[in-house]
Symmetry: C2
C-alpha cells in the first residue's frame, strides 16, 4: 500500500513508526558519505530496539574486507548477534533501518535473523538504475515478509538517498559486482 | 530439465560434470555426520576449481558461531574470498557443491560472489519437510541463474542426503530458526 508520501508498506501505516523511520534513515543518509570516504560501500544500516535505542550500526564493507557478503544489513545483523550472543534475534524485538531496499541475499539474511521490522530508503530499482548493481529477483517480497510476521516500510525519503548514491558514482568508486561474461 | 536420474539443471546435462558432482556430493554426505557430531548444522559445502582441486570446505555453523548467516554455502564463499583475497571469485572459475539446495540468502550470496557453477543435493522441499526450516521464496531461480550465466545441477543422489537430514532430526538437534509469533 502507498500513502501520500509514496511509502511502500506491508501493514497499515503507523504514523509514529514512520516518523521515527524518517528521522533514523535521514541520519543514516547524512552519515553515509563519511563511511564512503573511509572506503565503505554506499549503504548504511542500523538496528534499534523497541525503546528506540541503537544496538549496532554498520556500513557495507565488501571492498574493504574483500567479502562479497558484507552488505550493510548483513554486517549489522552479524554484529547484533555477536553482541547479544544469539543466532535468533526475535526475542529482542529489533528493527532494522537501512538506506536502500535489501537485495535478495539480505532478504534471506533478515528472515533467518529474527529481525521483526524493516525500514528502508531507496528502492532496488533506483539502486540498480543509479549504480548498476544486480539486486536479484524477489517478486512479492513484502507479502512474503508479511506472511512471516516481518513488517516492512520502504521508499523513505528517497530523494536524499538517491543523491548519496549519485555522489558515490560521480566519485568513480568501485561497483563491486562479479563479472558475468 | 530432468533426465532419468531426476536431475534438475539449467543447461543440457553434461555427463562428465554430473559424474564429478555425484562423486563430490556423495563425499560431502559421507563426511557431514562427522561435522554434525562436532556441533555443526546439517549442511556441508565445498568449492572446487576448474581442475577439480578443492579450494575450501565448510559446514553450517549457525549454532556453534551464534550467527544466523553461517550457512555452509556462505561460510565456504567467505573462506574462498579470504583465501584468494578478493570479493569477486569470477576470475577463478569456481564451482560450489553443497548437500542441499541453497536458501534464498545463499542464492543471493552465490550471485554476489562470482561462483560460476552450483551443484546441490536434496531440494528445498525435502529440507523443509524433514527439518521444518523455512528456505524462503525463490520462484524460477534456475532460470534467474541461467540469465546470469550461473550453471545449476540439483537433486543429486537425494536419498543419501535425505537420510543424513533424517538422522539429524532423530538426534533431536537444534532447528535454528527464529520465532515467528
Amino acid at each position: 500500500m502507498r500513502n501520500t508520501d509514496n511509502i511502500i508498506a506491508n501493514e497499515k501505516i503507523d504514523a509514529r513508526k514512520l516518523r521515527r523511520a524518517k528521522k533514523i534513515i535521514t541520519e543514516l543518509y547524512d552519515e553515509l558519505p563519511n563511511y564512503i570516504a573511509r572506503g565503505h560501500g554506499p549503504f548504511l544500516a542500523a538496528i534499534y530496539d523497541a525503546d528506540g535505542k541503537q544496538i549496532v550500526r554498520a556500513a557495507n564493507s565488501v571492498v574493504s574486507m574483500n567479502c562479497s557478503h558484507n552488505h550493510a544489513e548483513m554486517n549489522a545483523i552479524r554484529d547484533a548477534e555477536e553482541l547479544l550472543h544469539t543466532y535468533d534475534l526475535s526475542g529482542h524485538n529489533l528493527s532494522l533501518y537501512v538506506t536502500a531496499e535489501p537485495c535478495i541475499m539480505c532478504l534471506g539474511g533478515i528472515m533467518w535473523s529474527g529481525i521483526r521490522d524493516v525500514y528502508f530508503g531507496v528502492t532496488s530499482g533506483v539502486v540498480e538504475s543509479i549504480t548498476g548493481f544486480d539486486e536479484g529477483f524477489k517478486p512479492n517480497w513484502l507479502n512474503e515478509f508479511k506472511r512471516r510476521n516481518i513488517t516492512v516500510y520502504g521508499n523513505i525519503e528517497p530523494e536524499h538517498g538517491e543523491s548519496v548514491l549519485r555522489d558515490y558514482m560521480t566519485q568513480n568508486r568501485i561497483v563491486y559486482k562479479p563479472q558475468r561474461d
